[in-house]
Symmetry: D2
């Protein structure tokens, strides 16, 4: 491949997600395979501004495919939101001889790269790394599958104690604006109800549903709540109080799963996805492309313009909401 690109910089940015290390490894090894240089940038845009770089070769990324987090670290960087910050970052990349970038992160990180490219004309390809699955242009974001399994395993454990005591649990899972984790993990964990921002269940229907569940002889109940859900007008702690007042038959508990959802060894799916996206990102750069995000559609790795990807969310799956309703009969 006769490309003018001789050195690619790779970094992770924003919230971390399982599979980021696997994606870095794939970028690094594809560079090695294509016989171009690869430079790791620590702490995302912050490290770019500081020139906190490390040369990476195929052996630098041994034994990281199965590690959660990101060994290049991540950070949020207010300074990069200013033209001055971005100029500093560009100067650092110039000094280091970086011709192109692979950015691994969520929609904020991709937007940053898009602006950076508009100003400084440095080619880049994005890899959607976030557990939230909220990026348009890919069926799965990197880390989503792992997070689902982490949540489902935690709820399996909670179910043990819930069904030993005839209890009702509100389990809050991540998802500030979207309910993908809640809906999928809720169905996977056999939750009795699932509260997501996209679907207005309402407090009354929740109470009705819990009453019916009890009447049908269910020994315990799990309600999965997306952290961003406000369709009931209440957070999980308020929901607990409300249900205890209005349905005193239940002994109610709350569990907020929190940041453990971001960690852990990635699943096979996320490792393979990361590897394929990493290869695609480097290949696209070498083909002269820029401003695209790698994504998966059916079983194909595809490219979507970042400008489109950051505009919209993947829609919640109406059919899966229906499956959930049927399963909780």
């Amino acid at each position: 491949m006769s490309s003018s690109i001789k050195k690619i910089g790779v970094f992770t940015s924003g919230g971390d997600s399982p599979g980021m290390n696997a994606a870095i490894r794939a970028v690094v090894r594809t560079c090695a395979y294509m016989e171009i240089d690869c430079l790791g940038i620590y702490r995302g845009y912050e490290g770019m501004i500081d020139g906190d770089f490390i040369p990476l070769n195929a052996r630098s990324v041994n034994n990281i495919i199965n590690k959660g987090g990101t060994f290049l670290k991540s950070a949020r960087c207010p300074e990069f939101r200013t033209p001055e910050g971005r100029q500093k970052a560009f100067d650092q990349l110039q000094s280091a001889g970086v011709d192109a970038l692979v950015v691994i992160g969520g929609d904020g990180s991709l937007s940053g790269a898009e602006i950076f490219h508009a100003e400084h004309n440095i080619p880049y390809i994005g890899i959607p790394g976030t557990i939230d699955n909220d990026i348009f242009g890919t069926r799965y974001t990197l880390g989503f599958d792992t997070a689902l399994n982490t949540v489902v395993e935690a709820i399996d454990k909670i179910r043990d104690t819930a069904s030993s005591h005839h209890r009702l649990f509100f389990v809050e899972v991540m998802g500030r604006d979207v309910g993908h984790i809640a809906l999928n993990a809720g169905v996977g964990a056999g939750a009795e109800e699932i509260l997501i921002p996209e679907e207005d269940l309402g407090l009354d229907r929740l109470l009705d549903s819990l009453k019916r569940s009890k009447a049908r002889g269910k020994s315990s109940s799990i309600v999965v709540v997306a952290e961003g859900d406000r369709t009931t007008g209440k957070n999980v702690y308020e929901l607990k109080e409300y249900v205890e007042q209005h349905l005193p038959v239940y002994d109610v508990r709350v569990c907020v799963l929190g940041h453990m959802q971001r960690g852990g060894a990635p699943t096979c799916f996320d490792r393979v996805l990361a590897s394929r996206m990493g290869v695609k990102a480097v290949e696209a750069l070498l083909e002269g492309k820029t401003g695209f995000m790698a994504g998966i559609r059916d079983n194909d790795i595809i490219l979507t313009p970042v400008s489109e990807a950051i505009k919209g969310h993947t829609k919640i799956d109406k059919e899966l909401i229906r499956v959930s309703d049927i399963m909780t009969i």
Copy 2:
């Protein structure tokens, strides 16, 4: 829905796979939701011939979504291969008032249902339950995703000891005719080589690759081998001996993962897939369909005629073979 179907029989057949219980649960609960009866058939076609049935309601399938195996048991049944056996089975279903069937199993099980339907005109829908992912008409068979994670977690453990001792491991995984598990889990586990029936690597190229790997300073090597692979003309034990003779620099070990690959709590993916396929199967029957298999394509649950599904295998993914080659630089 005005359908003539009043009672659906559900059973699992052939080798078991994680997610079968979740699929049974989905079939049972969809029947309850649609207000029709559901009858569980134990031990597949064998139990059908014996009339080994159990009525199932929504509560019968509490707390099984996360259990491996199949609580309806499974069996291979030579008698069902004879017209007399199938007649007995049909008579039993008639006595029990079963109008339609949902069969959960691999291609052998689906073929059986197809013949049964041709002879006795009983409607059926199939759900592809097998870890091998070798059925045409679905991107993922039920249990494949769980098996991949089981394999990858086992190889992660083997990697610990391999890299502590500079060892080479041949790890045999399931896949009698196809290399899907080997290829995906091999990429996910960061295997140095992957031997699958679909891709003739040859012994010489394997040796060359191992030599280069050693030369590049890799501290250990994992070669994943599909059990059905004969492209080297050798099984894993013979490969060990051959490499020890021709590459004495390596301390070689063999690990055959075996039947643990069929068990374990299903992943979130397999639980959701099972739930969606179960709903689809019952709905299809109530819509008057027969002879189809539920499958997933991108994110849609689709129906494929069983006659087509059992004809061919899902092809191995050439792009993933390429990704694997690049990753092992």
Copy 3:
């Protein structure tokens, strides 16, 4: 063995813990082995008062050794605290022909049995089932080892994201009065600080320690806090605010692990312990003993009078506190 005991009742009471099912199984099978009857009592003392019983034989407890929770359910029962409630319970046992009891639970449950025995002279043996490890007379309570692993695995995941972002996490674990889970899991997870009720660290020393940790270049910090700890005068949320004010260099997060700590498949240790304690409990009853609790000391299953066991807690291990201090250098 010539004992007058012909039928043993077994039940679980109070908070559930992993290994309770394995203990029930062991009691049931030992009864079968000794050729005496075994009656399961649902929902602890509540089910005893209600006569909610089920005969159990060796096959009733197939495939439960690896299940969390308790299939006999558990409950707290205010009525049993009254002489009238206990009279009802005794009458139910008499009607059912129960000669002796095995109670599996924490110190409250054992105290109940002790009073019951004093009033009605029914022989009983206790098995210490609680994740808190707070019962005198046994090195390990049933479920403690499993809970430690659940906590350590969760913190391993949190560490991934903590070290990707240079964050400080306060992780609250169970232990209302005692710090056994916090101390052991804290050492196991490599926590930077551990706050337990038994050891007054104080806020100032915590701040100092975090400052030093930062100065030594630690990229992230985990502070494990027993839920019952008030040595700092603050709960985890107040600690977060306090540290953010006084050590603004840290980006602080809170994670309350909650009830998932009570569930999950028991570890091998807890399964073996449950099996041994179950055998011991039945054997002790058949030898005419009563009012003892089975416990483990070194590798021996021993008996301690319940009157002693419920008086005191196992002391926190000073040497392990020292190990923790050394490890966090």
Copy 4:
């Protein structure tokens, strides 16, 4: 502490086991705490002879407490069995200024250290790192608890498929000379029979037991076999053939768990044990002790002369054999 020891060398030797990294970390950090130097020796005695050393400080061992294997690598070293080899090793240590050693490994590794000390008078303390639990002087060797859980989790998976198909599985686990893994994991996994070198069951009794098991309606059977067991005169593959001939009612399968038993993240127990033993080893050296092995007895970390530790094995637990017999009724 006024000791003449200024620099301690630490290494792992022989087969690796989970917890070795945690033990190295504990040795390194205790040295840092005591303000003495610590030198890592790669590849055990082999690296000692080669002078393959690395200085280690408190930060060198960040984030390894939860990693399987040993980052210092391990090896078996024939040259160290010769006086010349040991002389070379001693010279290397002298040049590097190493005053004392901590050796982490099995009985072969401890024997090597004992001879080395006799010849060259270099103080050492041993830490028993092996999954086999076959060293006298400690209730638990490092890695044993983790290996038990790995085995039990694998058999749980095998049980899923065994009970779906009414199958009999022979599962071979590690233990060349001793049956500790087989006995404990067998009880933990609810195995129907357990074959260990220490207890001569004999083929006839095995057949009888399997017949009775079938007669009692067990739907599946797991027989756990220690790899070193020859009490039946047959290995697992021969056992399979024998049972298929003499008990054709069974569909028999074999599973050899192999090297995955040596890997994986250590359990909380092994991490805490490693931390305590590491502290003890350094403290003992600084107190002028040599030739001891750290061990655990009840909850105390104790020292046993290596000369005694390597003489005998921990005896198999007769009471646990009896528990196993009762459980398989």
